[in-house]
Symmetry: C2
DNA sequence: ATAGCTGCAAATGCTTTGCAAGGCC
DNA sequence: GGCCTTGCAAAGCATTTGCAGCTAT
């Protein structure tokens, strides 16, 4: 079974540089504009992250970048379409975007609304019934909800 | 392992009657008002269902009930708090409520935005890591996303 | 009688969109 | 230059809330 994490790791060094982000964007068919560069650098420059549009916008502004919230939304969706991000449906109105697009699952701390990766492929899902005819499984989301003991 | 479905089945006959719904509400500490009776009857009168507030409201209005959308929202959350419903975070802004509160999982047809139960406990999740200390697993959501072949 | 419900309309929170101005190739 | 992007403000949706009036017990 192919495991995406390998690819992600392989790109890490490139992604940490400006040239790397520019490259990533061009490969995705997106012009490396100032705003996309800044957001891409924040998203892909470090380890894997879970962000909402608002979090990313605040962070960009805090580092002195001029980006509008609307552009953050648009950019997140462009990155998602390009396969650089995955959107997570957790709950409530907020949309989370995950920079780790490989095959993995999540802990969700209900009280704080905080997301954590469950690393690697430690989780195995067995006993799946056949999907209805004419359909195929595109993805399996597993969210382990945690509450305070 | 306890399996909630047993309890649900045992109540089915009662829930199909008006008296049964009234009983269900009283046990949940909710007054059996006209609106709650109507919504409860729609929700618990038949087989398990997945509804949004808007779907349920339209359905109620279509059967000649006078209920406001705000009351549908409030009622759904009251039912959820009472353990009669479970809320599903699927995607986008819409909240789905599931009348089957037992341990089961879902197929989600991406194209149509349609939800289906995966019956019983055919799915097994193995290899869960320890939850972070101070927390316990409250629930595991598995959503199998389907696309057209 | 009174605590609890309901309906309306306004408010909220997140997200998307229209369009004029600006930037990349 | 021409097409893609951006920013702003306005619009859009789903949902929640304040509050006056109604209702179950």
């Amino acid at each position: 079974m192919w495991h995406g994490r390998v690819k992600v790791e392989a790109n890490k060094d490139m992604e940490r540089t400006h040239a790397g982000v520019a490259d990533l964007l061009r490969k995705a068919g997106l012009r490396p504009t100032r705003q996309r560069m800044a957001l891409g650098y924040l998203l892909f420059g470090k380890e894997d992250r879970h962000v909402t549009a608002e979090m990313l916008h605040e962070e960009a502004v805090a580092t002195g970048e001029r980006v509008s919230l609307a552009t953050v939304y648009n950019t997140l969706h462009q990155f998602k379409r390009a396969g650089l991000l995955r959107e997570l449906a957790i709950e409530g109105a907020k949309a989370y975007f995950d920079t780790n697009t490989s095959n993995h699952n999540h802990f969700y701390l209900e009280r704080e609304g905080h997301l954590m990766d469950i690393p690697g492929d430690t989780i195995r899902v067995d006993g799946l019934p056949e999907p209805p005819s004419g359909t195929r499984i595109s993805h399996i989301d597993v969210v382990v909800r945690l509450s305070k003991r």
